[in-house]
């Protein structure tokens, strides 16, 4: 009902105040300290479920570790944590650009005023890229079972025909069991392509702020093209990267919906971060033109993709669980019964927090239009999907030695605060609003 024409300040810039910087740097510092303490504790063997597992499930555990199983390195939990946060925040950073790209390609006008916010996510890509690279070189051998060269030596006791059949996907063109060149090239390519397209789209968008002639759509049209390219490329690379980085941890297992599953999980997380960012910016007095109608749309997005995630998660679960084929059920056994039952409560909690909670909380129209509801749900969704990633990565890497303790809290604090720091720095560099967006008027009068 915004009928009266209100004049908003389209020139405003976000100021990343020293106070906020200090808080975030403190978060990064505390995270780093907790990470180091947790790493030391893990190295010394404290704080994991190992002791617990030894007393209750010891017999089962040793029987499970048959011939061909490699000795568990306690440092695996550190690499797994870095890998978990690295991949999670990589996807979120890339999804920010995906959101912008979808708005461009769909000619959507409502989101024009919040475009800069999601545009700034991608600046975190290089950081997670470095983390993933380092983690792979330092801990790849502990994280990925398929990196062990003795799996591919024919005639030996450790020879694994299933992984040998898949070896080209990792090692081509080199010999199986040597350096995974194909896999590594893909890792570099994902970051290269995503970051390049992010930079191109963002630069064009920023340049649009300085056009001299009103009605100059050059940059907008350019960005529509680049957005279409990004969506097509990202559609494929997101799936393949999910296989490379996450599904290959459980290399014997496969799911044809894994790419979408990871997509759904991280896309709804990115939407939750976007919502949180918009609401917090509004609380600080920025983005006056974003009213409950825009929040309503963001709420609908979160609601819809929470349901979408559930649909994908459940389809993957039910088909494999009910058909009960050994090569498929192994993934769910690890998460539900085996490994000392470390992960079985999480999988129930996962569905509860990621489906039932947003479904009931965001169902009514009024809830989607109130920032307090959105804040609570977005935060819950974020926690829930972090947990979802935890359930994807940890059982295959840390096995029954996993847990949630100082190391996990420290790592996520470190990554989350760094993400917000980089995001806020990028946001402060340019105008907060893409003021020359051709559909800005539509966004100002958005009314649903």
């Amino acid at each position: 009902m915004a009928e009266a024409h209100v004049h908003y300040n389209l020139e405003e810039r976000y100021v990343f105040t020293p106070e906020q910087k200090k808080k975030l740097l403190m978060g990064i510092g505390i995270g780093a300290v907790l990470f180091v303490i947790g790493a030391i504790l893990v190295y010394l063997g404290v704080g994991s479920h190992e002791a617990h597992g030894a007393t209750h499930e010891g017999a089962k555990g040793t029987a499970h570790a048959g011939a061909g199983e490699h000795h568990y390195n306690p440092l695996t939990r550190i690499w797994a944590n870095l890998w978990l946060n690295g991949t999670f925040f990589t996807y979120i950073a890339a999804m920010g650009t995906l959101f912008v790209a979808i708005q461009y390609v769909a000619y959507a006008g409502w989101s024009a005023s919040i475009r800069r916010v999601s545009e700034s996510f991608g600046a975190f890509l290089p950081f997670t890229g470095v983390v993933l690279l380092i983690t792979f070189f330092v801990g790849g051998h502990d994280l990925f079972h398929w990196t062990h060269h003795d799996l591919y030596e024919k005639g030996t006791k450790t020879f694994d025909p299933i992984l040998n059949g898949k070896s080209a996907f990792f090692f081509a063109p080199l010999q199986a069991g040597s350096f995974p060149l194909f896999w590594f090239i893909r890792l570099i390519a994902y970051f290269g392509i995503w970051y390049t397209l992010y930079t191109v789209i963002r630069n064009n968008s920023v340049k649009e702020d300085y056009i001299t002639q009103k009605g100059d759509f050059t940059y907008h049209k350019k960005n529509i093209t680049f957005s279409a390219i990004f969506i097509v490329i990202f559609g494929y690379t997101e799936s393949t990267s999910a296989w490379d980085w996450i599904m290959s941890i459980d290399a014997h297992w496969y799911s044809t919906m894994f790419g979408w599953y990871v997509f759904a999980s991280t896309w709804v997380s990115a939407l939750a971060i976007l919502t949180l960012a918009v609401v917090f910016l509004k609380d600080q007095g920025y983005l006056k033109m974003v009213n409950e109608n825009h929040l309503h749309d963001l709420g609908k997005f979160m609601f819809a993709f929470s349901v979408f995630w559930t649909y994908i998660w459940f389809s993957q679960f039910l088909l494999q669980n009910y058909s009960n084929i050994p090569e498929e059920i192994v993934y769910w056994d690890e998460r539900m019964e085996k490994l000392g039952g470390v992960y079985s409560p999480l999988i129930i909690f996962n569905v509860a927090v990621n489906f039932i909670f947003p479904f009931l909380f965001l169902m009514t129209r009024d809830a989607k239009r109130r920032s307090i509801f959105l804040k609570v749900t977005a935060f819950g969704i974020l926690m829930g999907h972090y947990l979802d990633f935890y359930v994807m990565i940890m059982p295959g890497t840390t096995k029954e030695h996993g847990g949630f303790f100082i190391l996990e809290i420290g790592t996520v604090l470190l990554f989350a605060c760094s993400f917000v720091y980089v995001f806020a720095t990028t946001l402060a560099k340019t105008n907060l609003i893409a003021k020359n967006h051709p559909m800005m008027e539509e966004s100002l009068h958005h009314n649903i």
């Binding site: 009902m1 009910y322 009960n324 009514t364 009314n447």
Partner: protein
């Protein structure tokens, strides 16, 4: 029918040519103290219900109720089939295995919610297949917009309301229609 003429209600119908005129007329006419009963238009007008002052639709509540009914029905059906009537063991799972109820209860929820919402809509608008809807002006199915004022709900005289409607852009002299 003729004996019931005294029961008929009287309406004043103002005809407008454009969407913008009728939307602004709705607001201005109500500012001048005339209660607008309804607006008829060839196409949906965004938020016209809010401008007229209609209360918000309760159909989401009906949807939730019907959906819950559908879930209950579907769950009852599965429980009866798989636990009482004909237990079957599939995939080594128990005959009664809750995750398998999810697809059926989802479909049941959607089906009953959809059918129930259609029924609620038809009943609350007194509509149905084959029913001839009363029309204040046939041209509202083509290119005109009709602003209808219920004379019983207004204290102003017909002449006063006519003047107000014309002042805010009615394209012809408002007519009195009995219904």
């Amino acid at each position: 029918m003729a004996t019931h003429t005294s029961d008929k209600k009287k309406y004043l119908v103002g005809i407008y040519d454009h969407e913008e005129t009728v939307v602004s007329a709705v607001k201005k006419v109500q500012n001048d103290g005339v209660k607008v009963d309804e607006v008829y238009s060839p196409h949906p007008i965004h938020h016209i219900d809010v401008y007229i002052g209609h209360p918000r639709t309760k159909i989401p509540i009906a949807a939730f109720m019907f959906g819950a009914t559908g879930t209950t029905l579907a769950v009852t059906m599965i429980v009866f089939m798989m636990r009482i009537d004909w237990p079957m063991i599939i995939g080594g799972k128990n005959a009664f295995y809750p995750p398998t109820m999810v697809p059926v209860s989802f479909e049941g929820t959607v089906l009953i919610a959809a059918l129930g919402m259609v029924a609620t809509f038809l009943v609350s608008n007194l509509m149905g297949p084959g029913k001839q809807e009363f029309m204040f002006d046939r041209r509202t199915t083509d290119d005109k917009y009709a602003l209808v004022v219920d004379l019983d709900k207004n204290t102003k005289s017909i002449e006063e309301i006519e003047a107000i409607l014309e002042k805010h852009g009615a394209s012809e002299k408002p007519r009195v229609v009995e219904r």
